[in-house]
């Protein structure tokens, strides 16, 4: 919202600079995001006396002058104005001056010494428009006789310079959506008087229910609480006077004509949106405020045909809608050059209805913006009359003394009590009651009753946001200035809670993954439907109803797409290797649900490897990552979290190993298949592990705390076992059997050799396991382990047809 610095001075007097005012407004809650200077400060422009003025030898329309600009300096200046003459006092822009007009290329005009048609010119004698003082370009400005050469221009003319504040208005402050409202806050802080541009607030005597020339009725009184109509006759539609145009252009509005400009002016002055109808275009001399049960096609005055949803409020004449209430007028009744009688509308429309229509049409206007936040229901008449008087003044019309003011819903004034103790308790201050009283009075709260402990006050009708005591406390604090509230010497800290186990666990997971040399990524949790479908069944996908685009329409059912997208992104930019992890939430529909019924939102860990394990280097050959690299990371991580004992691993498919705790699936490691890689535009191999942290946390939480075990006192003994099995036997199965059979002395199993070859025969392979045995009570000898080996070999032979190789 744009607020003019100079315009504010119409309602409150102050000397502060624009920057100071911006700071004051910001600290009262009207955040000034930007201050822009409008017009020129006229520096470099001074009074000059035209000494001589002769015709230019080479150009009929130009004149060559000599101008005294004070301190004995006389400049030769070529001038094209028809009215220039010797003896005039004029305004001269001296070389180096930047004028507030643009050249055709958009750059500002800067005055330089030059030759014009062969004659030297060292400045410019200026017309009104060239100095941003007005629109007149018919000739140069001629100053009164008493102006003295050399005086700076800003001392002899009003420079018209202004500053515009861009205010980021919060939705709770509809009262401040106009100059008077902003001035009210400013006056309260500066402790100055606020001059209002109107006097009549009370219901006037001239209101008529039945007007001979216009019948006004409100059908939907729940949507329109008040409607004022005033007729202004014999207006002459013209461009607005200079002062009005200047006000509007300063805040970025385009002047249209005197009547429309007057309504816009009052909107930005008082915050009351107004609409002017061409009375002669209204059929039946009638206005009805009503909504329809069906959609309505309506062309607004921006010449857009709109399909307005049922229930939206319209202003209609006898036959048809003529305005979309509170949002925009209709093309069929707008003020035109031929308008002679104006019906001026000033109304209070209910905020929710306006907001619904505005949102569904995607049409927000200065008017709807204010109505949907809640305007002052008591200002309806005063604003209408203020506008009517301006129209009468600048368009030469007569205001019909009889007017309509229907007011079916009268809002009751709110009375709120402020307890001093509560005020000081919430703020941590030591205010006295009179300090609160004076702040609230300055903001036009009507103080009804007060004693040393509390006050009762009536909330002004323009403050719909103030409904309870805490709102009054905020008013006092913000006008006082938050920054002036003293900071306490110390703060209270109640006994801290234990950090949740989940938080501690997640921190350990993240640290473990990082220390295993994985890089953390943050992937997008909204996916394209075609991507999401690769990772969950159609009926499991959760969609947003209003996605920005198809690319971000579905919530991620898995962290794997995030890995693959990041992998593809980096491989396509020259990376040769990726090693990523992510901790994040996934989303699927389910019959049960986690936080909300039917929605399974869970935290997962993803670890992924892809591309090269090692680049070609002098010490080793180039080598791709293999799934075993990922598995070792995963196993170390699970070990570091002290939960690997509870897990068992099973091959689910030829490319996927799953981890189970009992029968519960907790995660898996897999080789990403070629088709999927192609889908993500990846040529390198990629391996991914995903684990449900929600499940792992549960396991870890049930785990006994870590207790120290004495280190073995006796050395262990290694035994190498080479087994010959058929090629389709899984090594993992042999290992499981081996571990299950060997008893408690077996401390570790290491697969030291795998080979297949002609010597073994067709369809056979050999796997070498190195077993390490340790006894806590004695040094083991080969004899001690022989019996164990025998048992293991017999079991392996029985279960897997394995034969011991000599």
């Amino acid at each position: 919202m744009k607020i003019s610095y100079k315009w504010l001075k119409d309602y409150v007097s102050f000397d502060q600079s624009p920057e100071e005012i911006a700071e004051i407004l910001t600290l009262t809650g009207l955040e000034v995001e930007e201050v822009t200077q409008i017009g020129s400060d006229l520096s470099g422009v001074c009074v000059g006396l035209v000494l001589t003025c002769q015709k230019h030898p080479n150009a009929d329309r130009l004149k060559v002058c000599t101008v005294d600009v004070g301190s004995g300096t006389v400049l030769p200046i070529v001038c094209g104005a028809p009215n220039v003459a010797a003896g005039q006092k004029v305004l001269v822009a001296t070389p180096g001056t930047q004028l507030p007009v643009s050249l055709p290329d958009g750059k500002p005009l800067v005055i330089r010494k030059s030759k014009i048609r062969g004659e030297v010119s060292e400045g410019m004698i200026c017309a009104e428009d060239e100095l941003g003082l007005g629109t007149d370009h018919s000739g140069i400005i001629v100053l009164p006789e008493d102006a003295s050469p050399g005086t700076s221009a800003s001392e002899v003319v009003d420079s018209k310079i202004d500053y515009v504040f861009e205010i980021g208005l919060t939705p709770n402050r509809p009262d401040a959506s106009c100059h008077l409202g902003v001035a009210r806050d400013l006056a309260a802080v500066l402790n100055k008087h606020l001059s209002k541009p109107y006097t009549a607030l009370a219901n006037p005597a001239n209101t008529v229910d039945e007007h001979p020339d216009i019948t006004i009725s409100i059908k939907d009184t729940d949507k329109c609480h008040r409607y004022v109509g005033i007729l202004i006759r014999n207006v002459e539609i013209q461009p607005s006077p200079e002062w009005l145009q200047s006000r509007l252009t300063t805040i970025g509005l385009r002047p249209i004509n005197n009547v429309v400009d007057a309504t816009n002016f009052v909107l930005h002055e008082l915050g009351q949106p107004l609409h002017a109808f061409d009375y002669d275009q209204l059929s039946g001399r009638e206005i009805r405020v009503q909504s329809f049960d069906s959609d309505t096609v309506f062309t607004t005055l921006d010449e857009v045909e709109r399909n307005v949803p049922a229930g939206s409020l319209f202003i209609c004449d006898r036959d048809k809608p003529v305005a979309l209430a509170g949002i925009m007028g209709g093309l069929n009744s707008e003020i035109s050059a031929n308008t002679t009688t104006v019906l001026l509308e000033s109304a209070y429309f209910e905020p929710v209805g306006i907001r619904k229509t505005s949102k569904s049409l995607g049409l927000q206007t200065d008017s709807s913006y204010r109505f949907e936040r809640g305007i002052d229901p008591e200002l309806t008449y005063a604003a209408a009359m203020r506008c009517a008087e301006i129209i009468a003044d600048i368009a030469g019309g007569q205001i019909d003394p009889a007017f309509v003011d229907h007011h079916p819903v009268i809002s009751k004034p709110k009375i709120i009590t402020l307890r001093l103790k509560r005020l000081n308790q919430i703020l941590g201050t030591n205010f006295m009651i009179n300090q609160a009283v004076s702040v609230l009075r300055a903001l036009e709260f009507e103080v009804k009753k007060t004693n040393t402990d509390e006050m009762r006050c009536q909330v002004p009708s323009f403050r719909p946001d103030v409904t309870q005591e805490i709102d009054l406390i905020e008013e006092v604090a913000r006008i006082y200035d938050y920054n002036k509230i003293p900071n306490p010497d110390y703060i209270h800290i109640p006994r801290p809670e234990q950090l949740p186990f989940r938080e501690q666990f997640l921190t350990r997971v993240r640290e473990a993954a990082r220390s295993l040399d994985y890089r953390e990524i943050y992937a997008n949790s909204l996916l394209h439907e075609n991507v999401a479908r690769q990772f969950a069944r159609e009926e499991e996908l959760i969609r947003t109803l209003n996605p920005i685009s198809n690319d971000t329409a579905v919530l991620r059912p898995s962290l794997t797409p995030g890995l693959l997208r990041a992998a593809g992104y980096n491989f396509n930019r020259g990376a040769r290797s990726i090693r990523f992890f992510e901790i994040g939430n996934t989303f699927k529909k389910s019959s049960t649900g986690t936080w909300h019924p039917g929605i399974q939102e869970e935290t997962w860990l993803m670890m992924g490897l892809g591309g090269l394990h090692r680049e070609e280097f002098w010490s080793h050959k180039q080598e791709n990552y293999r799934i075993f690299d990922l598995r070792s990371s995963v196993d170390v991580l699970l070990d570091a979290l002290h939960i690997s004992d509870q897990l068992k691993v099973e091959k689910i498919t030829e490319t996927e190993l799953a981890y189970f705790s009992g029968s519960q699936y907790v995660g898996s490691i897999q080789i990403v298949d070629k088709a999927m890689l192609t889908f993500f535009d990846i040529e390198q191999p990629v391996f991914v592990a995903t684990f449900s942290l929600s499940t792992l946390i549960g396991m870890a939480e049930r785990q006994d705390p870590l207790i120290y075990r004495p280190v073995p006192k006796f050395p262990g003994i290694d035994f190498d076992l080479a087994l010959q099995v058929s090629s389709d036997t899984d090594a993992g199965k042999l290992e499981s059997t081996l571990r299950a059979t060997a008893g408690s002395r077996l401390k570790s199993v290491s697969t030291f050799d795998v080979f297949e070859g002609k010597s073994l025969g067709e369809g056979q392979k050999s796997i070498g396991f190195r077993l390490r045995f340790i006894d806590e009570a004695k040094t083991l000898t080969i004899k001690d382990v022989d019996s164990i080996i025998d048992k293991v070999v017999r079991k392996l032979e029985h279960d897997h047809g394995a034969r011991l190789r000599k």
Binding site: L27, T170, N487, E520, T544, L545, W618
Partner: protein, 336 residues
């Protein structure tokens, strides 16, 4: 015999050992069991018993001298191997690269913020990213159809035909976790709520449809605005690790009153200083406390919230929010 010993001793001392072959020759001649010194020992039997001890002693000294000469020469030869090293013995050769782990910059910032709050006695709480309207809006004093809802453009998951507070949506802030925390625990409550949030906004260098927040909530008897101020100042100074110049501006959030935003004065070399917003905060609105059955006449509280991306961008001078989610290694590796 003695002359033999002396001449051998001299030979041991004079023997040139400059390469492995000479070393081997030396070993064969003097150190080996079949060498000259060993031969002298075999001759020891010829001596009378009373002489044997003295000669034996001299012989042993010789044997030790030869052994020492050999050991020393061998060591010298081995350590002077650089004069004939192989190409891969060059210790200035580049060491092979190895992968490096790193945490995402957003995690780094979040961890810093957590540390500060832990020092101030806060715990931590989490909640779901898919929320219902009750937790995300209604209980936080966002009335249905209020323009305040426009401040947070929302992705909806499910629109309930009957009750707006049963709509499902992607949470637009982490404040619903405050509601969950207050529903499950009576005051005192002193906790932070970090997490991912979503806004239906188009993607530009300064906005993205998801980002991360940390909020903090303190509810107890007699919690006041002055204490909130002091907490904010401590927080800012600990996060930025310096004294900060700050200002508090009144602002508006439906769930706090009075509400504020905090700016800190930010100077960068070669640029004019400016106020930069770092967080929003306020006293918990009585309507919010009522919605979770906490009596606002007995308890009061403050809440504050900040954007993790924003804080990270300030810390590291990052000017494009999109880079956080691209996961470009060339970006990530700067934070290892």
């Amino acid at each position: 015999m003695n002359t033999d010993i002396e001449s051998i001793r001299q030979a041991v001392r004079d023997f040139k050992i400059e390469n492995a072959a000479q070393l081997e020759e030396f070993r064969l001649q003097f150190v080996s069991r079949k060498g000259k010194i060993a031969a002298l020992f075999t001759g020891l039997g010829k001596f009378a018993a009373e002489e044997r001890a003295a000669v034996g002693k001299v012989l042993n000294e010789l044997k030790n001298e030869a052994q020492q000469r050999f050991d020393q020469a061998k060591l010298n030869l081995e350590s002077s191997i650089h004069t004939q090293r192989s190409a891969t013995d060059d210790i200035t050769l580049q060491a092979p690269p190895r992968p490096v782990g790193s945490l995402h910059p957003l995690t780094l910032t979040l961890e810093e913020i957590k540390k500060v709050f832990y020092r101030l006695g806060f715990s931590i709480a989490e909640g779901p990213e898919i929320e219902d309207d009750f937790h995300n809006f209604t209980s936080l004093n966002f009335p249905p159809e209020h323009p305040a809802r426009d401040m947070q453009d929302t992705f909806y998951i499910h629109k309930d035909a009957e009750r707006i507070d049963k709509d499902l949506l992607l949470r637009t802030h982490t404040s619903p976790v405050q509601i969950r925390k207050m529903l499950e625990q009576k005051p005192p409550i002193r906790s932070i709520m970090p997490g991912r949030v979503y806004r239906n906004e188009s993607v530009t260098y300064k906005s993205y449809f998801l980002f991360h927040q940390v909020e903090a909530l303190y509810v107890d008897k007699n919690v006041n605005f002055a204490e909130l101020k002091e907490t904010l100042v401590m927080l800012a100074e600990m996060v930025f690790n310096r004294k900060v110049e700050y200002r508090l501006r009144p602002s508006f959030f439906p769930f706090t009153e009075p509400s504020l935003e905090m700016d800190i004065w930010w100077e960068q070399p070669g640029k004019p200083g400016k106020w930069l917003e770092i967080l929003g905060a306020g006293m918990v609105h009585p309507n919010v406390l009522k919605s979770v059955d906490i009596d606002p006449e007995v308890y009061s509280g403050f809440a504050l919230g900040m954007g993790v991306e924003r804080m990270t961008s300030l810390r590291y001078g990052i000017d494009d929010i999109r880079i956080y989610y691209e996961n470009d290694i060339r970006f990530l590796e700067q934070f290892q």
